[in-house]
């Protein structure tokens, strides 16, 4: 319900924003405010585009057409790429999914691991040092952290590539080699995203574990004579993981926002880079399409997490 209304708001913004603006998008396209691409349009072309996008028809008709197009998966045509928006997005989305998904997995797994470690040694000094470092990492926005990593590892040490997702014009002898190349290029973006999201998972795991270990059933488990390992992993960690699941969904949402900037730092050809170039050449249909895809994927993730959470913890579902 909540997700549906959110989706509705996004669609409404997407629909009304270009229409309630003073003037129309095509006058902005033909002006040369900023940007490297200056698209000059004649009056004839402007009218053609107005007609093409149905902007000269009454508002309710436009709304109907918009809805119909959405239902059939038609997001319009990109002005700059001269091909359907959905094709442009499909071309770039896999790269974004690749780095967001790997960052999600890496930050969740290592966050849980470090959190457990920290909860176990919470009386030592090592826990405090770890916490301070983690908190400092969490406060740096992902794209600034990405810039630092880029400057240190790619520019200064020359360990990693500066841009791109694959080596240009490379010939691969084996699929393994290609996979290696892709991993090599994705490494820094993934590390950047993981580092900024790690802290949330880490703190959550640590705090939940500390609460869980004071529960009676942990004492019972110890009293039964179970080994320390079994108590921690099977009894404590399993229960502490529940909030982590929710956190993961939340995290994907934040990352979809952050990845737009991180991709631009590393010139990684995902939808974030596409969005930037669309913004520079004022390619409005493409901008709107990307917004829609991003928003929908975030909402779907939230929905999935809600469902999974209900399965894992039957107390919530009732």
């Amino acid at each position: 319900m909540r997700l549906l209304s959110t989706l509705f708001v996004i669609l409404a913004i997407n629909f009304f924003l270009p229409r309630v603006m003073p003037g129309d998008p095509f006058t902005t396209i033909s002006s040369d405010e900023i940007g490297e691409e200056i698209i000059v349009m004649t009056e004839e072309q402007r009218l053609y585009y107005l007609n093409y996008y149905g902007l000269d028809r009454p508002l309710h008709e436009q709304l109907l057409v918009y809805m119909k197009n959405l239902m059939t998966g038609n997001l319009g045509r990109s002005i700059y790429y001269k091909m359907p928006v959905s094709d442009v997005i499909m071309l770039h989305l896999p790269w974004t999914i690749l780095i967001v998904a790997s960052a999600t997995v890496i930050s969740t797994v290592s966050g849980v691991f470090l959190g457990t470690l920290s909860a176990k040694n919470r009386k030592n000094g090592s826990d405090r040092i770890m916490m301070t470092c983690m908190i400092a990492f969490a406060e740096i926005p992902p794209f600034l952290l990405g810039l630092i990593l880029l400057l240190v590892f790619s520019v200064h040490l020359r360990l990693f590539p500066l841009a791109g997702a694959v080596t240009p014009f490379a010939d691969y002898n084996a699929p393994l080699e290609q996979a290696w190349d892709i991993m090599y290029h994705a490494f820094l973006p993934v590390v950047t995203l993981s580092l900024t999201q790690l802290t949330g998972v880490y703190l959550l795991t640590r705090n939940t574990l500390i609460t869980v270990t004071t529960k009676d059933y942990i004492r019972t488990a110890r009293a039964k004579g179970l080994g320390e390992k079994t108590v921690w992993i099977r009894h404590a960690l399993r229960n502490a993981l529940l909030p982590v699941v929710t956190r993961t969904g939340f995290m994907i949402g934040i990352m979809m926002g952050g990845v737009v900037l991180v991709e631009n730092v590393f010139s990684y050809p995902g939808i974030g880079m596409t969005l930037r170039s669309a913004v520079i050449c004022r390619d409005y249909p493409l901008i709107q399409g990307i917004l829609l895809v991003t928003a929908v994927s975030i909402l779907v993730c939230n929905l999935l997490v809600d469902k999974i959470y209900g399965k894992l913890d039957p107390r919530v579902a009732t």
Partner: protein
Amino acid sequence: MIKNFVTAGNARIISLAQALNIDRNNRINRVVISTAEAFSRFSTEGKIGILGIICIILIAVFAPVITIYPPQKITGDSLEPPGPRHILGTDELGMDIWSQICYGARISLTIGLAVAFVAGFAGGAIGILAGYIGGHVDQALMRVIDVTMALPSFPLLIVISAFLGPNILNVIIVLVLFSWAKPARIARSQTLSLKKSNYIIAARNYGAKPFYLLWRHIFPEVMPVLFVLTIGIASHAIIAETGLAFLGLGDPTSKSWGMMLNHATGFRSIYFTPYWQWWLLPPLFMLIFLLLCLAFISRDMERILDPKLKIKKGF
């Protein structure tokens, strides 16, 4: 060790203030003492944060005094390395980088302050009112808050600023529209629990009018939490502005730190030349420093206000 030193320093400030305080009614002295006392409640990190913020504010306020060149004028050769003429060197157009840093601080601080102030207090007021009135108003507000918080803020921000055009005022308005929901939610829940407390009921039974209750009893209670949230909103707003500017959606007439990053990373072979050392690093360093200072302060304030109170982090 450092902590002890700082605490000792504060004790000295306090005793100095007390020694100076011959006339007990002297207002300035009292302010000095209370400030010193409030300051000494912060941890080392919090103190570093406060001092850092004060430094940045001073840089922003006295920008014309501490810089030699105007930020938007060509005053030297293109891409001059740091030297006696230009402390931090120049960018590709020959503009002084130190001047750009100083004037850029103004933009970051203005956006952070404006968004935080408006969103924090408007959101807080809405939340308090809705919590106090209750009923349908409250229900409706909760729905709106739920939807606003579920919106993917950054992608929407990009789209809206792309359509509305690059302008600082637009950025501020859009950011306010996205960040009022959290203070509203927290103010509402606080008001709901306060409404049931005995002293509020007693005051109402004595005939206190709703406005008096809200202003004298509820607002002062909610205020500290709102203040902590406000710091978070400020740093979020600064990040958002930087991100937009970095994408090329900043106000072209103003040189913010994000715009500097945008210009530097947009320069063709920036990474193959030594230019990044004085062109890219200063704004990067200043931004991270500012954000860390804000984070230290807000963490410390959270701790001081109520150790049991946990405000959920993250936007």
